[in-house]
Amino acid sequence: MANDHIDITVEPGEVHALLGENGAGKSTLMNQLYGLLQPDEGEILVDGEAKVFRSPRDAISAGIGMVHQHFMLVPVFTVAENIALGAEETRGGPLGWLDRRRNRRDVLETSKRYGLPVDPDALVENLPVGAQQRVEIVKALTRDVDLLILDEPTAVLTPQETDELLSVMRSLAETGKSIVFITHKLREVKAIADRITVIRRGRTVGTATPDTSEDELAALMVGRDVSLEVTKTPADPGREVLKVSGLVVDDDRGVRVVDGVDLVVRSGEVLGIAGVQGNGQTELVEAIMGLRLARAGKVELEDADLAGRSTKQVLGAGVGYIPEDRSLDGVVKDFTVAENLVLDLYDREPFGSGLKLNLKAIADSAAERVSQFDIRTPSPQSTVGTLSGGNQQKVVVAREMSRPLKLLIASQPTRGVDVGSIEFIHNQIIHERDVGTAVLVVSSELDEVVGLADRIAVMYRGRILATVSPDMPREEIGLLMAGITGDTQEEDSE
């Protein structure tokens, strides 16, 4: 049972946040409102009138629109075409010509009315994620909905795009639209919501106002007290483990995205790389891992040159790697938990020798990791795709931290991960630091970098602008992330 007698009321012009961990039943609830699932019990009232939604079409005609977490757009269509899709304007009856001009005009009109700039002629595949989301919102608004459901809308956005979205939500609410905002990010909830409903394990566990503190909200969500702060002792940096000098990397299109990066990570410290997504962090890490060819520069791991090494060799040299896109690069969803736990160790003792896999050793080690890393799975033989995001990420973390490491690279280690798991993963990273591993954390969430790092390198347009202390005021780091450097902010730690 994903929803157990939930009551929720949304007023006109209200931003109502639905807060809960991954798997708490938020999406299930909203899928019922949107006609994708039918409730077994209970009813839905729109303006006091009971409605039965058999399909999204019913929901839309009752004035309910939804923007899904993963966009439902056709990449090769233009914005206007995508928006028209399913409600095409035609001339000469339902089988007549497509009225592209009218579609285009409708799009422009809606976009202007709500202050949501979209280019109707742009191809969706060429738009950044934030703009694609705007298209989804405009698409819902052209259907004249009164209630807009946004399912985890900020999960894929950069901080700037998130801010933009929040102001859009605010202005939509001011025009009288109601918004249900599904999320597990407390900061955003506090910033935007008029009312908050917290869901845990399919039940409403409380309602709150934005004045409620983040710690209280987190406790409601998780069902116990959680610490949002990362507790750690001062670092004790030792020898230089990773040394990157003059690294230049191009992306797939041949555009220079890492443009002469120098950095050093010492044993027993966490170097955080802060920066807005898309400033070369991804390519920097991929170049270190041997997943992408560097144009110039040097990567050394304890004086051994990593240039030209395959990913296997880099991993074998004692590097642990938590990739930023868990479902694409981190896990094989069709594989079992046990198999995913040895995804990069399967051919090493004791898991494999020669051509043979030692299934018993794999199963035994999996059982151990599952309990050690608190991976919530029915069994180590369950497929990873059936686990929640947080538990999938724990599988990756467990895999990478279950062998002796010299260097750990964690990219977006807690993206799409529930609060309870975030705490756990952060503690594991700090634990790894404390045993003397050099740790490189890359995150577009400034909170995370500030919480974990002992030193912060701010990356902007392929360069490290400055390396600063995490005690530096957040606003100043934010300015650096936007590429604004002042002379006083430079604090070279070398």
Partner: protein, 423 residues
């Protein structure tokens, strides 16, 4: 036997999770998420039902009784029933056993060879299909569509056949060498598209199809050449494989040979390779998530190349078994359709080694039974091909089968479609 975990997470969970699925991924997912055993059996049943209609329609005598159906329905009904039951009884008798022959055996008037002949025929047809089926299934697990089983099998026929008559070796050793020649020939023919895929990204479907033509035409040319062609014959046929290189068979007229035993051993080997070897781990990982495999340090290019080599080798071995067991000479059609049938066998076997073995035996049985059906009732052997095709169509559309039989999953399958449509 197969140690894979049941790869069937709840459908809607999946639909939500998957961000973007390739056509292949979606196809594989649909293939595996179905309740395999039930759907397979129901598919065969449905195919037989449609086959029954075709049998009636194709028989003009029975069909004419339908013209006065309202006046005397019994004529049409009994006529149809007789025809269908005789046809399917023949299918059974030709493929498994003939009760009359068994009866005769017990009475002491028959002979055990006659009683065993249907099974022998079934297994004779099945043996090469096991290898080509495994070839396709293995490649599929690694995310490759090996359409080139036919070409690889043809090359396997050629190398095994030529090794069988061109070199003189003691019995036993000669057989091993000839089989190995088939294996290596097929492996080389698989290596080419594998290498092209790994190095240049050339799609294996295109390259393997082209290599199918190349192999078949090469065979046609080769059997006309001096040294290959049988000098005592005027038609396009090669010399006969030395008896020292022939797969040992049961006494005549039984045709079943050691190839089927080899097929079972190789099936076990492939099952081990997929589920219990590091190469299998790599190929499965590459097959379902190339990016994660790459990130975990696996070499996708190397895996693709190796995979095509092994898949080609399997198909080549199938060709070798065909020449050294069933045919004993090279002709233009020596490989028949074993490569393409291998595709269907792999589909029917859901790309699992043991499933493929059973699917190949089913195909062999349909073929063997079809022969008798043609001789006895006069129903064209093509009907068997139609049956085989229908089975595969139903298997490839599990949602259809589930909807027809109102299986429980059908509801969530419909939900899946509506979710994908979105607005």
């Amino acid at each position: 036997m197969t140690t894979e975990a049941p790869a069937a997470p709840p459908e809607k969970e999946k639909a939500k999770e998957e961000k973007e699925e390739s056509f292949l991924g979606l196809f594989l997912h649909n293939l595996w998420s179905a309740n395999t055993v039930t759907v397979t059996i129901l598919s065969i049943f449905l195919a037989l039902v449609i086959g029954a209609v075709l049998i009636v329609v194709s028989d003009s005598a029975v069909l004419s009784t339908f013209s006065y159906f309202t006046a005397r329905p019994s004529d049409a009904l009994t006529g149809s029933w007789d025809l269908i039951s005789r046809a399917y009884a023949d299918l059974f008798k030709g493929a498994i056993f003939d009760p009359a022959a068994i009866q005769a055996l017990f009475n002491g008037t028959g002979d055990w060879k006659t009683a065993l002949n249907p099974l022998s025929e079934t297994l004779t047809y099945a043996a090469p299909l096991v290898f080509t089926g495994l070839s396709v299934a293995l490649a599929f697990r690694g995310g490759l569509f090996n359409i080139g089983g036919q070409g690889q099998a043809v090359i396997g026929c050629i190398t095994a056949g030529v090794a069988g008559f061109a070199i003189g070796l003691p019995a036993g050793l000669h057989l091993v060498v000839a089989l190995a020649a088939g294996l290596i020939g097929g492996a080389l023919w698989g290596f080419l598209p594998g290498l092209l895929k790994a190095r240049t990204g050339a799609h294996e479907v295109i390259t393997t199809i082209m290599l199918n033509y190349t192999a078949t035409l090469f065979l046609g040319w080769l059997i006309l050449q001096n040294g290959i062609r049988d000098p005592e014959r005027t038609d396009a046929i090669s010399k006969t494989v030395d008896s020292s290189a022939i797969l040992p068979a049961m006494p005549a007229p039984l045709r079943v040979h050691l190839g089927i035993v080899l097929a079972v051993i190789v099936t076990a080997g492939v099952a081990w390779l997929i589920n219990r070897s590091s190469f299998g781990f790599e190929l499965r990982a590459v097959g379902v998530n190339q990016n994660a495999a790459k990130t975990a340090g696996m070499s996708v290019a190397k895996t693709y190349t190796m995979l095509m080599v092994v898949a080609g080798g399997l198909a080549g071995l199938g060709g070798a078994v065909q020449v050294l067991g069933t045919a004993d000479k090279l002709t233009g059609q020596v490989a028949g359709n074993i490569g393409f049938d291998g595709l269907l066998v792999a589909l029917l076997g859901r790309n699992k080694p043991w499933g493929t073995l059973f699917a190949a035996i089913l195909y062999g049985a349909l073929r063997a039974g079809g022969n008798l059906m043609q001789v006895d009732v006069g129903i064209s052997l093509e009907l068997v091909t139609v049956l085989q095709a229908l089975i595969v169509i139903f298997i490839a559309a599990p949602a259809l089968v589930k909807a027809i039989f109102q299986l429980r999953d059908a509801r969530s399958a419909r939900l899946g479609t509506s979710m994908a449509k979105g607005w």
